[in-house]
Symmetry: C2
Subunit: 144 residues, 2 copies
């Protein structure tokens, strides 16, 4: 059987030291052993890894040329917070840390609230409060 | 402070029912409430969500045109398994479930073993065994 699991999200970094500095600037601590070739952040139950784009491409996409810089990669990364008001707080803090605002926090028709920002390499994060979805310290989702 | 957390990975689906069927074909169970507009899989400590590409783009990328279909999105998704041999087993099972093989399982110079496959919309997964990295049932990473 195939484990029902997602354990890493890897960003192919164009400038890894700069990208790492951005996440460190959000107050995040890399795992020990992180360096200019590979950096990992334990994000609850999942690891966000930074790996040079050309090396990741050599492993994962030998058949394709790199997507043009600046094009959207078709994926967003979600950061769930505890309540509606925290969406705005975290959105502001992310922008202060250098994230580019894409869509200001707004109530969503499905009942939650979220805003979107981009990191320096156009990886897009949704900062979101979703009623009925909560997380343990380990990042595991708790059912209502 | 900004929580050090990643809780969702959302794929902007071009054909959501087909993409969901692919993951269900891997033996994965969607969360209750999943439908043709939104489907979520609890993957340990993180949720993989499927949301129509044009709707996700309207939320997250109002300033950009969609990347060309077939171009690599610059991100890989990691699925860690328990030991070296399980990489090959899971790789084969994923291919049997319809994944496209990109790079066969191989020992990596950093000490682990991994192979790459693509889902039907070119989202790229690394099936990987990494020594010293283990996961609880909740998906949380346990340090050695």
């Amino acid at each position: 059987m195939i484990p029902q699991r997602l354990s890493f999200v890897t960003l192919g970094a164009l400038d890894l030291p700069r990208l790492r500095a951005f996440y460190e600037g959000m107050g995040w601590t890399p795992r020990s052993g992180s360096n200019d070739e590979f950096t990992a952040f334990l994000l609850g139950g999942v690891i966000l890894a930074l790996y040079p784009r050309h090396l990741l491409k050599a492993e994962a996409a030998p058949d394709l040329v790199a997507a043009a810089p600046g094009s959207w990669n078709g994926i967003t990364l979600g950061l769930n917070v505890e309540d509606r008001a925290e969406v705005d707080r975290v959105f502001d803090q992310a922008c202060q840390a250098g994230a580019r605002p894409l869509a200001p926090p707004q109530d969503r028709e499905w009942g939650g609230r979220s805003g979107y920002v981009a990191d320096p390499e156009e990886n897009r994060w949704e900062i979101v409060w979703a009623p009925g979805v909560a997380f343990t310290d380990a990042g595991a989702v708790t059912e209502p």
